[in-house]
């Protein structure tokens, strides 16, 4: 999957798991500050992303995923 496809799927996950409107999601948006995804929702987003993209995102990596772009790039790199 390329960046654009992962980004599109991430928007779906963010909507389903954390109720973030799709038009809010952009590469430079911070999960906590801009999208108000709290730490527990973040775990749910990560788990849904693991299922969807068939990747492993370890707990210690989750801390580094500040923006949507961080997550998308990590997934593209790992998939």
């Amino acid at each position: 999957m390329n960046t654009e496809e992962v980004m599109r799927e991430m928007a779906v996950i963010l909507d389903e798991v954390a109720g973030v409107a799709a038009d809010q999601v952009a590469m430079d948006k911070s999960f906590t500050d801009d999208l108000e995804v709290d730490s527990l929702s973040m775990v749910e987003v990560v788990m849904a992303a693991e299922d969807k993209f068939g990747v492993k995102i370890p707990d210690e990596e989750v801390k580094n995923l500040r923006t949507v772009g961080d997550a998308v790039n990590f997934i593209v790199k790992s998939a």
């Binding site: 730490s39 527990l40 775990v43 788990m47 707990d59 989750v62």
Partner: protein, 333 residues
């Protein structure tokens, strides 16, 4: 070969009485929030907790356990003397030894019972209950008293942003006795010691005693790690316990999970697709997470609301520090 006689086994065992003790003082989120730079809304959103109870100086672990057990024994309509064993699930016994179970038993007027503590944290009550059920079924005892009691405030750091708002104090108790039917499904339990650090203490008591650390140890928890483990693993554990009992989720009258966090409960409820006919215990709202006491307190609350029909099957699920977990379908008392 020599034949060793065994006790005559029974047809079945079931929960015959329940009791609870909630400390008098209600502590709102507004009281906790300033200590951790937080708010009522923040705490509610993350946990589903509105308030919890904090024990006073007089509401000791022993005292709360005795009061909960007294109600359970009365509810079971038995005499204390009929109890053959007392199991206390707790992680807040203020002394490392002796166990608190013998003292509690003596205060309850139970003459010479087997008595011991069970250390499996938030899964402890379900571990102890299943052990008690096996003892009754095997004919080792006639009645067993199972208590979950905690004074979490004794081990909390009220300025820790990762845990201060979650926990509370309280005690709950069940009496298990003989039955002419099977009141307990197979226990599904397990542990993962590789994640022992996920919920643990900031240091050992010995490090404090020898001066290696300046402060006595308190509880610490990797919230995200525990949440992830619970949400990903407990769905399967719950499903296995239901299947092992020969049932489906829709057959249950109630689901009584450890009250760790409403969002963990939500995730499990969603994944198992319980119909509306299954009452879901949400005692965390008024009690917080009381560790080993959550399951009996939550059933007690559910029954007071008239949502726990006697004889109907309910799933109990405990999970927490260790990491440990245990799930079992039981017939409601």
């Amino acid at each position: 070969m020599i034949t060793i006689k065994s006790a005559p086994a029974r047809v079945g065992a079931r929960i015959v009485g329940i009791g609870a003790y909630r400390p008098t003082r209600v502590v709102t989120n507004d009281e906790i929030a300033p200590l951790i730079d937080s708010s009522d809304q923040w705490i509610q959103q993350r946990t589903g907790i509105n308030s919890r109870r904090f024990a006073s100086e007089h509401e000791t672990l022993e005292e709360m356990a005795v009061l909960a057990a007294t109600e359970a024994i009365a509810d079971a309509k038995i005499k204390s003397a009929q109890i053959g064993v007392v199991l206390v699930a707790t992680l807040t016994n203020p002394v490392q030894f002796p166990a608190v179970a013998p003292t509690i038993a003596t205060r309850l007027g139970i003459p010479d019972p087997g008595a011991f503590d069970v250390g499996a944290a938030c899964a402890g009550f379900v571990y102890a209950l299943s052990t008690a059920a096996d003892m009754v079924k095997a004919g080792s005892v006639e009645y067993a008293l199972v208590i979950g009691a905690e004074r979490m405030t004794d081990v909390l750091d009220m300025t820790d942003r990762g845990s201060a708002f979650i926990f509370g104090d309280g005690a709950g108790a069940f009496v298990v006795g003989p039955a002419d039917f099977n009141g307990f499904g197979p226990i599904i339990f397990g542990s993962d010691g590789s994640q022992a650090e996920a919920i643990s203490m900031t240091s050992t008591w010995f490090d404090f005693r020898s001066g290696k650390v300046p402060e006595p140890p308190t509880l610490r928890m990797e919230g995200q790690q525990v949440f992830r483990w619970a949400v990903s693993e407990m769905v399967g554990v719950a499903q296995r316990a239901i299947t092992a009992a020969g049932l489906e989720p829709k057959d249950l009258a109630a689901f009584i999970p450890h009250q760790a966090n409403n969002r963990i409960t939500d995730a499990i409820v969603k994944a198992l697709d319980f119909p509306d006919s299954v009452a879901i215990a949400r005692d965390i709202r008024d009690s917080g997470n009381t560790t080993a006491a959550t399951v009996p307190l939550a059933l007690h609350a559910l029954r007071s609301e008239g949502r726990a029909p006697a004889g109907a099957p309910a799933l109990l699920l405990g999970f927490g520090a260790g990491l440990t977990y245990a799930a079992q379908v039981v017939a409601l008392p």
